[in-house]
Symmetry: C2
Subunit: 214 residues, 2 copies
């Protein structure tokens, strides 16, 4: 059976996956870009932008796991756009004409517009359904490959609570946000279901991997 | 000027320094001993117990920093005893006749009993005063040496908010407690005041050091 995987999901020391006050100008609210500096700095990300350079160490090794073996993505409404994007018929996500998903991508929203076909293999499908049902659709679309769960925090919590995540990679960034969307709420005893490893890197980030116990 | 230092303060991934439901039988509430397995396993701790053996790696190196250069300790009421210890005239702390502080030790409580002199150099003084005032007393008693701030989470937060901590060592343990006393509340932008380093170890713990910027 194909796996459900989370990659490169960054949180602050106090567990926030995004800051407060998300908007079109500030996609991560008051967190700004600080949760993702380590990721933007990797060779993986720089190549995606068509640039050379970038870090080639542990951060990059984790970043690169984003793509291989993935056949579909699931994300929450707040990853796809700023509050109210459903009212903007021209909104096609943050990522320009060729989004980095290159697969059927399922956006969970209570107000689903029609699908949007983008360049590079990404088609956005909008679904108003619980986690398990969305996963069923994504799995059918993925043709036996794995499903990437793209976040944000609310959607990851929903999938964790439903026991639907097989692999989760978090990057803990040494900042304290104080407010925003918290990943850890209502996840008591998560360690019972996962083997957890931690590795800190020279960038100051600590990578955590959660591998579902068999 | 002498420094204020926090050592070996363990928190869960979701930032709890103790679990919920603290009692005489369960000093750390539903967390049990899980926050401190790495610490109890060190050679430093085993020697303190009069035992041989114990780990000698990075965890032990951090554990050993507890003692050198310290002239006084400050702790919160919930570190000294279970809820209601103030009503038990025989309560002298969790640590037996020879507590591991070996110095004047200031316990912050709104109902201060008279001082208690223990073996090994520890005298417990009980004070009902704000952080800065307790620190002044501890500093006078420490004779130029550093002050260790022993926790719990509430007291560390109070000292952080007052800008009174110079060095803080946290050990992040890969468990999710879900409830208890949270260290991170109201600490937004803590990284502006501290240089932060992270190092994970084979025990699964990630050590964080916060060094106040000069």
């Amino acid at each position: 059976m194909s796996k459900v995987r989370v990659h490169n999901f960054a949180i602050s020391l106090d567990g926030f996956g995004t800051g407060a006050g998300q908007s079109r100008e500030m996609p991560f609210g008051h967190a700004g870009e600080r949760l993702h500096d380590w990721y933007v700095g990797t060779q993986y990300f720089q190549q995606m932008r068509g640039e050379s350079g970038g870090t080639q160490g542990v951060d990059n090794a984790f970043a690169r796991q984003h793509d291989p073996g993935i056949g579909a993505e699931i994300m929450g409404a707040n990853k796809f756009g700023p509050p109210g994007w459903q009212d903007d018929a021209d909104w096609t996500g943050w990522w320009g004409p060729n989004p980095p998903f290159h697969s059927p991508t399922f956006v969970m929203t209570h107000r689903p517009p029609p699908p949007i076909e983008m360049a590079g293999g990404t088609t956005f499908y909008f679904v108003d359904a619980p986690a398990a049902e969305v996963l069923e659709q994504a799995r059918a679309a993925a043709n036996g490959a794995d499903i990437r769960l793209g976040g944000g925090a609310t959607v990851i919590r929903e999938f964790l609570t439903a026991g639907l995540i097989d692999y989760m990679h978090l990057a803990v960034v040494p900042i304290v946000l104080g407010r925003g969307e918290r990943l850890w709420d209502n996840q008591e005893s998560l360690e019972d279901a996962f083997d957890i490893e931690a590795i800190s890197t020279p960038s100051g980030v600590t990578h955590l991997t959660f591998i579902r116990k068999v």
